[in-house]
């Protein structure tokens, strides 16, 4: 899967994908302390993201799925330039934004927005709903006061807070959890972004309102918004995302259409993850394939394939060679970073 070369990458290209991330690496340096520095101990870093590539197209929802600490939030925040990448490239509509200065990033910021997990934390308790939703417009100095009022009302109604008048003057504590998350979504939508990152948008909410928020995101996607959803819940991803990327220890280990990844997983990690997702039907009690041990420390990533110490199917090549690229595993770009697939040459032609 080679990346097509483009002549100029400092211009936007309407044909290019909304967000395109290649070989993204983000390390968090770890302080050695003064003793460590004097003793010239080696510099250590947490390899939070290590060579991640994906694209999000207009009107598409990509779910980044993985356990806590796998680097999914860091990946998304780096892709939005909220965290500095160590290496790799990030293109927004074809324009290379990896090294843009903050002043150059600012006009792009309103085109990419993020909503967080906890609507109890992400809203200012002293702000009325109107102030929260209007704030981004003030920050970006957009519109006259009457234009802003219209945009606020429109964003709130898009987020399912209709009629807006009913909610405008309320404080967060007067709203339910689902309504708060809708306010956070309205505050993101008021800037009319093209890309929305949703970091665990429903995991703090009650079961009965989750579907409402997810359907809202689904509807926004249908109107052309590109959505990068971060979730630990494969069931949610399988229901709402177009494509799923499964992350393990800073790397995407499998990627493909949501249906293909869930119905025909290829990477042993994805298989194990799917086997432990509790199913709704009590008759559907398949034996969970519980992996031994826990995810290794990202400071000391295992050699070769980073999953090999826990992999039930590891063979001699796995501790030696790192499967950096996804190997083709099926139709529509379904691929997995697993050497088991290298023994299947009949698939090699089909992937890309």
């Amino acid at each position: 899967m080679s990346v097509p070369e483009r002549g100029s990458t400092d211009q936007e290209d309407p044909q290019a994908p909304l967000l395109e991330v290649r070989d993204l690496v983000t390390y968090y340096p770890i302080s050695r302390g003064i003793v460590g520095a004097l003793a010239r101990r080696p510099k250590l870093a947490a390899h939070a993201v290590e060579g991640v590539s994906f694209t999000v197209a207009e009107g598409e929802m990509l779910a980044l799925v993985g356990e806590s600490g796998c680097g999914k939030t860091t990946t998304a925040e780096t892709a939005m330039r909220l965290i500095e990448p160590t290496s790799g490239t990030i293109r927004f509509r074809g324009r290379n934004i990896t090294k843009l200065a903050p002043s150059q990033m600012r006009p792009l910021r309103r085109r990419m927005q993020i909503i967080y997990q906890d609507p109890y934390d992400s809203l200012d308790p002293r702000f009325r709903v109107r102030q929260t939703v209007e704030e981004p417009l003030l920050v970006h100095q957009l519109g006259s006061s009457s234009e802003r009022r219209d945009r606020v009302a429109r964003a709130m109604e898009r987020a399912g807070l209709a009629p807006a008048d009913l909610f405008l003057e309320r404080y967060p504590h007067e709203l339910s959890g689902g309504q708060r998350q809708r306010v956070a979504i309205a505050a993101a939508l008021v800037l009319e972004p093209e890309l929305l990152v949703a970091d665990e948008p429903v995991s703090m909410l009650d079961v009965s309102v989750r579907a409402g928020i997810l359907s809202l995101l689904d509807g926004l996607r249908r109107t052309g918004l590109g959505i990068l959803m971060i979730t630990h819940d494969l069931s949610t991803a399988s229901h709402f995302a177009d494509r799923i990327a499964v992350m393990y220890l800073g790397r995407i280990v499998e990627q493909g259409l949501a249906h293909d990844v869930v119905q025909d997983p290829q990477h042993p990690y994805t298989k194990a993850l799917i086997s432990v997702v509790p199913k709704r039907d009590p008759r559907d009690r398949t034996e969970p394939q519980i992996l031994t041990g826990e995810t290794p420390n990202p400071v000391r990533v295992p050699s070769g394939c980073r999953f090999h110490p826990r992999c039930p199917a590891a063979f001699d090549r796995c501790p030696r060679d790192d499967p950096v690229e996804l190997l083709p595993a099926g139709e529509d770009g379904h691929g997995a970073a697993c050497w088991l697939l290298s023994d299947r040459p009949h698939l090699a032609h089909r992937g890309a």
Partner: protein, 324 residues
């Protein structure tokens, strides 16, 4: 057959509130539990499931008042006040609290924290207590030597398993687990759930699993009680609840839960649960129900038997209301 291990009859809990009417958090809950049973208590937040199990432990805050009967092997835990409650707490009925993995004292070794309840309850002391703590840790999949470590040296999943070991310290017959896996990753969740099942099959422990997560109950429990507004809406074997629910709330709750392989649309339940500081007239679920009719808003539904070991509180099952 002898009396059930634990029998809860018409349990009510009220919380006294400052300058506001009392909050009627649990409004007449009945269930029973036998050795080896695994019962799920499910519902949205605020439906009274945690309050109900705290009442079983006798651990409600001072502003709470309780009515009804909680019979442990026929003895009423509520009859003798705190003294009776204390004599059964941990030794007969034990609990793993929500977020228990974060409840360890950070400056004491894990093993000391497991032996403490044994010594307090006079179950074992010194070497014998330490020996038993080691056995409990082994039981939950942690080596006895690791017990000498401090909580911060354990991962979240290990701490949660250690919290289960601590709850088992005094050899209880009933284990109440409140959202024991909510903060854990799916892989660790699977380990903890498997452990809970093993404890019931191997030690004959009776388990009450409190959670909002229906798939977790579906995989672990044999029976479940669906709670709504402080009452049980429907109770029965898990398979029956999933395949032939007789209360609309149960059906809608399943429909609101995405399934890994489910193809059908996931639906939210409109509206919110009723306030519990006001009297509820009619069926508490009527305002959110998709099949409610006139009587639902005025007549409180009765709990009716709708099948073998299957109870539901909905007028749709009540011919006397439906045909009226």
């Amino acid at each position: 057959m002898s009396a059930p291990l634990l029998q809860v009859e018409d349990l009510h809990v009220w919380f006294e509130q400052v300058a506001r009417p009392d909050l009627h958090a649990v409004q007449g809950v009945d269930f029973e539990l036998n050795q080896g049973d695994r019962l799920g208590l499910v519902g949205e937040s605020g439906c009274g499931k945690t309050t109900a199990v705290l009442a079983l432990m006798g651990l409600l805050p001072p502003n709470a008042s309780v009515a009804g009967r909680i019979l442990f092997r026929g003895e009423d835990l509520l009859a003798g006040g705190e003294e009776t409650a204390r004599s059964h707490r941990w030794t007969d009925v034990a609990m793993v609290f929500q977020g228990a993995m974060n409840a360890f004292n950070p400056v004491r070794r894990i093993v000391e924290q497991i032996t403490e309840p044994m010594e307090l309850h006079g179950q074992a002391e010194g070497k014998a207590a330490k020996q038993r703590a080691g056995e409990l840790l082994e039981l939950v999949g942690i080596s006895a030597q690791q017990g000498d470590r401090y909580p911060h040296e354990f991962s979240g999943g290990m701490r949660q398993r250690a919290a289960i070991a601590m709850a088992l310290a005094c050899d209880p017959k009933v284990l109440l687990a409140d959202e024991p896996t909510t903060a854990l990753d799916v892989m660790i969740q699977a380990q903890v759930l498997q452990l809970l099942v093993e404890l019931t099959t191997e030690l004959g422990l009776a388990l009450v699993l409190v959670t909002h997560d229906l798939p977790v109950v579906a995989q672990v429990c044999t029976r479940a009680a669906v709670m709504y507004a402080g009452r049980i809406a429907e109770a029965g074997p898990m398979e029956v609840l999933f395949h032939t629910p007789r209360h609309p709330y149960t059906r809608l709750l399943f429909a609101a839960t995405p399934d890994l392989y489910g193809e059908e649309a996931v639906l939210s339940i409109p509206g919110a649960p009723p306030r519990l500081d006001q009297d509820i007239i009619g069926c508490p679920f009527a305002p959110r129900c998709d099949v409610s009719f006139e009587e639902c808003r005025v007549i409180t539904p009765r709990m009716l038997s709708v099948g073998n070991d299957h109870l539901a509180s909905c007028h749709l099952n009540d011919s006397s209301v439906r045909t009226a």
